[in-house]
């Protein structure tokens, strides 16, 4: 009987909604790729902003929502990625696209000592610790004279003119170089966002993803079943730093102007990102996608009101945390059971075996 049972079980993760979601996602990506052919320059710039914020949000969600590492210091990696790009373009005459990769690597390298110190702290202390470390990085970079010290600098014209593929894009879409640069940056942001979502989803479907969930639920029990939390936390922290650094470099390649206060802004690169994740739904991949759309709409409607805008964001954040702690996506999936990126491993017992065990129980 046991021999029959051996192959009577299968494990499934896919749901019908997720299959439809995959088809829709492929369509959306296809449309997004050809979009610059008929979209205005302004729309391309707005989508660039949405995509880069989405990528930052996905990585912060990976840290806090899945890894339990609530960092308020991710601006350190945006800033160091951006400054590595400026430094290597201005001082090393590297071409700007290669410099984006250097930005990611610089963030990865910075993450090692960063985590070494921050991982000694837990919970709220970890959060404050990361913030302090990020300030240390900001103050140190502000001493770097070659890239403008505390006042910052701009990318030299020769460098922005030398970005590969811009000429080809300008000819293809019959636009001028600045618009072509925006289109290239938009495509890179699209690629980065898709890679971030795909990569995080893949991670959660692997054994490591299962361990992350177990550690988050009960770290003591996780240890007792053989899960070693330390390497998994390191992996998540380094991966998030690398992705955040790449995004930071890309954001500042598009801005073409940098200063320490802007590149290491806790508001722009961490507070807004936390807002996006929290209102969308922390600990889900769908949450940040919804969150970034809500954030963008709020910003376009309210940003002109300055301080009131920030007060409104804060109030909305508090209300969501109190009344819908799992965010907008949490409300939707509770009501409908919908999962667009399912990670549940469902055990399916084969029909033949079900009958056998049923008859035996009688």
């Amino acid at each position: 009987m046991t021999m029959h049972a051996i192959r009577a079980y299968t494990v499934e993760t896919r749901t019908r909604a997720s299959t439809i979601a995959l088809v829709v996602a492929v369509l959306i990506i296809a449309v997004a790729i050809v979009l610059p052919a008929f979209a205005s320059r302004r729309l391309v710039q707005e989508l660039f902003f949405i995509l880069t914020m989405l990528t930052l949000a996905q990585f912060w969600n990976l840290l806090a929502g899945y890894g339990g590492l609530v960092s308020i210091g991710q601006q350190a990696f945006v800033g160091i990625g951006a400054y590595a790009l400026f430094g290597s373009v201005i001082l090393g005459a590297v071409d700007p696209l290669t410099a984006i990769l250097i930005g990611g690597v610089a963030a990865l390298v910075l993450a090692v000592p960063f985590a070494f110190f921050a991982f000694r702290l837990n919970g709220a202390y970890f959060a404050i610790g990361t913030w302090v470390l990020a300030e240390v990085v900001r103050l140190s970079v502000a001493q770097w004279r070659a890239v403008g010290g505390g006042t910052g600098t701009s990318l030299p014209r020769e460098a922005t003119d030398a970005i590969p593929f811009v000429g080809a894009i300008a000819t293809l879409f019959d636009v001028r170089d600045p618009a072509a640069r925006d289109i290239l940056a938009y495509w890179l942001a699209l690629a980065l966002a898709v890679a971030a979502i795909g990569g995080i989803y893949w991670l959660l479907r692997t054994k490591r993803g299962l361990a992350l969930a177990a550690i988050r639920d009960n770290s003591e029990a996780a240890r007792s079943v053989g899960v070693d939390a330390a390497p998994i936390k390191w992996f998540v922290f380094l991966a998030a730093a690398f992705g955040t650094g790449l995004t930071g470099a890309l954001i500042y390649l598009q801005k073409a102007r940098i200063s320490p206060d802007a590149a290491f802004s806790v508001n722009d690169w961490t507070a807004y990102v936390i807002f996006i994740v929290v209102i969308g739904g922390i600990g889900t991949i769908e949450g940040p996608i919804i969150g970034v759309i809500v954030f963008f709409l709020l910003q376009s409607m309210l940003a002109q009101y300055g301080t009131w805008y920030l007060i409104a964001l804060g109030t909305i954040g508090i209300v969501v945390m109190l009344f819908a702690p799992r965010g907008i996506w949490g409300l939707i999936s509770d009501r409908t059971g919908l999962q667009l990126f399912p990670i549940r491993r469902r055990l399916v017992v084969g029909d033949a075996f079900k009958q056998q065990s049923a008859s035996r129980e009688e």
């Binding site: 692997t206 054994k207 969930a213 996780a222 079943v225 053989g226 549940r344 055990l347």
Partner: protein, 239 residues
């Protein structure tokens, strides 16, 4: 050969001594029961054996190796599986996923490799119907069964069971004893802390009595139960 041996293991929490020179061996394939009044240090002893807390002095050997300083997760991979007295499920994961974590990490294999075995453990422990239920939604009895199932999923050589029969009905208890006997017959060494003596005595070959962190008796269940000291300390309190 002794599978696990403790040599003069000491541990205290402040002024409270919870393990006082604890020394005993458990042979491979044996089943040992641990009894003692509440607060005798039984669960602490499991925490010491499984590596959840460290002893202040003394040595713990598992499979002939000194594991006194080995972290809990390495001891699990080496072949120790434990249940917690107060169930500690991964509450947002399903029952099946709870076992997958234990199987994949406790045995250091891939998820796909252990999936069938995990499903078999669920069948043996009567949890198959709950496989896709989130562990946080289980009843207390189901949680206790999950503790046993998750420990089994790590494919242990030594199984540490902490009061898993408490609160069960007579019928359920009989089922549980049957399950544990089958596990034991499969060659797994068992140390079982339990207050339900008839269940315990129907499985174990030896009993160990713990009182204020001290081993005050170890031997055949009949001999232990007949000892005047044990009757006074343990059964006296039970009545």
């Amino acid at each position: 050969m002794a599978l696990i041996s403790l040599d003069r293991v000491n541990r205290s929490f402040g002024a409270l001594t919870v393990a006082d020179g604890v020394t005993f061996d458990v042979a491979e394939g044996e089943a040992l029961g641990i009894i003692g009044p509440n607060g005798a240090g039984k669960s602490t002893l499991f925490n010491l054996i499984a590596g959840n807390i460290a002893p202040e002095s003394g040595t713990i050997r598992f499979l002939g190796e000194d594991v006194t300083k080995t972290p809990a997760m390495r001891r699990c991979i080496a072949g120790m599986g434990r249940s917690f007295q107060i169930p500690q499920p991964f509450s947002k994961l399903t029952v099946f996923e709870n076992l997958l974590v234990a199987g994949a990490f406790g045995r250091n294999r891939s998820e796909a490799d252990v999936a069938q075995d995990c499903a078999e453990v669920l069948r043996k422990t009567g949890l198959l119907a709950k496989a896709n239920t989130v562990a946080g939604a289980l009843s207390l009895l189901e949680r206790k069964r999950l503790e046993l199932a998750r420990a089994l999923a790590t494919d242990p050589k030594l199984l540490l069971l902490d009061e898993i029969a408490g609160g069960l009905t007579e019928g359920e208890c009989g089922e549980l004893v049957k399950t544990i006997k089958a596990i034991h017959a499969g060659g797994v060494t068992i140390i079982w802390i339990e207050h339900v003596l008839h269940a315990l005595n129907s499985v174990v070959e030896r009993l160990l009595v713990l009182h204020f962190g001290k081993v005050i008796g170890i031997g055949k269940p009949e001999a232990i139960m007949a000892s005047a000291e044990v009757r006074e300390i343990y059964l006296g309190i039970e009545v």
